[in-house]
C-alpha cells in the first residue's frame, strides 16, 4: 500500500469528522423533520401547506447548491458563521425534509383506529402524539432512518467544498501532497465504505430487534 501510515492517521481523524457532521445533521434534521411532519399531518391547512413547501424545496434543491447558498447568503445578512455551521446547517435542512417524509410514511403505518380510540378515551392532542403516534412511528422508521444516515454520510462529502477537513477534503489534500491521487481517493473511499457497511449491519440488527419488539 502506497498510502503511508501518516496519511491513514489523518484519514482516520477525518472519518471522525465525517461521522460527527452526519450525526449532527441527522440530529438537527430529526428535530426539523418531526416539526415539519407534525405540521403536515395535524397542523391545519396553512401549516400543512408550509410543511409541504418545505419538503418540496429542500428535496428539490441539490445539496451542493444549498450549501453554497448558505455559505454565501449568511454573510450578506450580516451573519459571519464559520464554515462548520454552514455545513451542518445545510445537511440538517436537507435531511430534515427527507426525515419528515420518512416519519409521515411511518405514521401511515400506525393503524387509524388507534387515533380514534385515543380520542374516544379523551387523550389530548399532545398526549396522542407523545404516547401513541410517535413511539410507534419511530419504531417503524428505524430502517429508513438508518438508510437516511448512510445517505447523509455520503452527502457529507460535499461539505469538502466549504473547506471542512472531512474524509473527502483530507483525501484531496493527501492526493495533492503525495501526487498519488488514485491511492489517496481509494483509501478515502474505503473509509466511507467501512462506515456505511458498519451502519448497514447495525441497521439490520436494529430492524430485527424492532420487529421482535413489535410482536
Amino acid at each position: 500500500m502506497l498510502v503511508s501510515a501518516h496519511s491513514l492517521g489523518y484519514l482516520a481523524q477525518a472519518a471522525g469528522v465525517t461521522v460527527a457532521l452526519s450525526l449532527a445533521g441527522i440530529a438537527f434534521g430529526f428535530v426539523i423533520g418531526t416539526l415539519v411532519c407534525v405540521a403536515r399531518v395535524s397542523g391545519g391547512p396553512a401549516l400543512a401547506r408550509l410543511g409541504g413547501a418545505y419538503v418540496s424545496v429542500f428535496r428539490g434543491v441539490p445539496l451542493l447548491v444549498l450549501l453554497l447558498f448558505i455559505y454565501y447568503f449568511l454573510p450578506i445578512v450580516g451573519l459571519d458563521v464559520p464554515a462548520l455551521v454552514a455545513a451542518i446547517g445545510g445537511l440538517s435542512l436537507s435531511s430534515g425534509a427527507y426525515q419528515a417524509e420518512i416519519l409521515r410514511g411511518a405514521l401511515n403505518g400506525v393503524p387509524r383506529g388507534q387515533t380514534e380510540a385515543a380520542t374516544a378515551l379523551g387523550y389530548s392532542n399532545l398526549d396522542l402524539w407523545r404516547r401513541i403516534l410517535l413511539p410507534q412511528a419511530l419504531r417503524i422508521s428505524i430502517p429508513p432512518m438508518i438508510n437516511e444516515f448512510i445517505l447523509l454520510i455520503k452527502a457529507s462529502s460535499l461539505v469538502s467544498v466549504v473547506g471542512i477537513a472531512e474524509i473527502t477534503r483530507v483525501s484531496m489534500n493527501i492526493a495533492s501532497m503525495t501526487y498519488r491521487p488514485l491511492e489517496a481517493y481509494v483509501a478515502g473511499g474505503l473509509f466511507y465504505l467501512a462506515i456505511n457497511l458498519t451502519l448497514a449491519g447495525l441497521g439490520g440488527l436494529a430492524e430485527r430487534r424492532a420487529l421482535a419488539g413489535a410482536r
Binding site: S56, V57, R59, G60, V61, P62, L63, L64, V65, L66, L68, F69, Y72, F73, I76, I150, I153, K154, A155, S156, S157, L158, S160, V161, I167, T168, S171, M172, A175, R180, P181, L182, E183, A184, Y185, V186, G188, G189, Y192, L193, N196, L197, A200
Partner: protein, 220 residues
C-alpha cells in the same frame, strides 16, 4: 438580481444547461443498461459472478459519488485511463446510477408473477423469449416509478460534476459568479432552477406511477 449580467452570460449558461441535460441523459442511459445487465447477472448460476456483482453494487452504493468521480478523473491516469472531465463525469454517473438501477430491476424481476413464467415455460418458450417477451416487459413497468425517482436523484447529482470541472450549468454559473461577484444571485438562480426541474420531473413521475399501477392491476 442583475439581469444585464445574466443576459451577458446567457450563451454560456444555455450551453451549460445543454451539457447538464446531456450528461444526465447519457449517464442515466448507461446506468440503466449496466443496471439491467447486473440484475440479470445476479441470477447467474455462478456463485463467483454473483459475489462480484454484489461487491460492485455495495461499493458503488456505499461510497460518495464525488469520491468515485475523483477516483475516475484524478486517479484514472495512474492506471493509464486518461479521461476528459465530461467523459469521466458521464461514466461516473453511469456507474453510480447502475448500482441503484440494478437493485430496482432485481426487485422488479422478483415481482413478476411466477405463474406467468410457468405458463410461458409450459407453452415451450425459450428462456430468452421468456425474458424478452414476458419478464422484461412486466419488470420494466413495475420498475418505472422507482426508475423515475432515481432519475430525479441523479439530476441533482449532476451538479457534483462541476467539482471536477465539467462545464455544466453549475460550473458556468460559478464562473459567472466569480467573474462578476454575483455569487448570491447565481446560487439563488440555481436553487430555483433545480427546484423547478425536480418538481416537473416528479409530476411526470406521479403520472407514470398511476399508469404503471393501472397496467399491473389490469394485466396480473
Amino acid at each position: 438580481m442583475s439581469w444585464d449580467v445574466l443576459l451577458h452570460y446567457a450563451p454560456a449558461l444555455i450551453r451549460g444547461f445543454g451539457v447538464t441535460i446531456a450528461c444526465w441523459a447519457s449517464g442515466c442511459a448507461l446506468g440503466l443498461v449496466l443496471g439491467f445487465a447486473v440484475a440479470l447477472g445476479a441470477e447467474a448460476p455462478s456463485r463467483a459472478l454473483r459475489a462480484v456483482l454484489r461487491v460492485y453494487v455495495e461499493v458503488l452504493r456505499g461510497t460518495p459519488f464525488l469520491m468515485q468521480l475523483f477516483i475516475l478523473y484524478a486517479g484514472g491516469p495512474s492506471l493509464g485511463l486518461r479521461l476528459s472531465a465530461t467523459t469521466a463525469g458521464v461514466l461516473g454517473l453511469g456507474l453510480y446510477s447502475s448500482a441503484y438501477f440494478s437493485e430496482i430491476f432485481r426487485g422488479a424481476f422478483a415481482a413478476v408473477p411466477r405463474g406467468l413464467i410457468e405458463a410461458a415455460m409450459s407453452v415451450g418458450m425459450a428462456p430468452f423469449d421468456i425474458l424478452a417477451r414476458v419478464r422484461a416487459p412486466i419488470a420494466f413497468v413495475a420498475a418505472s416509478p422507482p426508475i423515475v425517482n432515481t432519475l430525479i436523484v441523479m439530476s441533482k447529482e449532476t451538479v457534483v460534476l462541476s467539482i471536477i470541472t465539467v462545464p455544466e450549468l453549475m460550473y458556468e454559473m460559478q464562473t459567472m459568479a466569480a467573474e462578476t461577484f454575483t455569487a448570491f444571485d447565481a446560487i439563488f438562480a440555481m436553487a430555483v432552477f433545480y427546484w423547478c426541474l425536480v418538481e416537473v420531473v416528479s409530476r411526470i413521475g406521479r403520472r407514470v406511477e398511476k399508469r404503471a399501477a393501472a397496467f399491473l392491476v389490469s394485466h396480473a
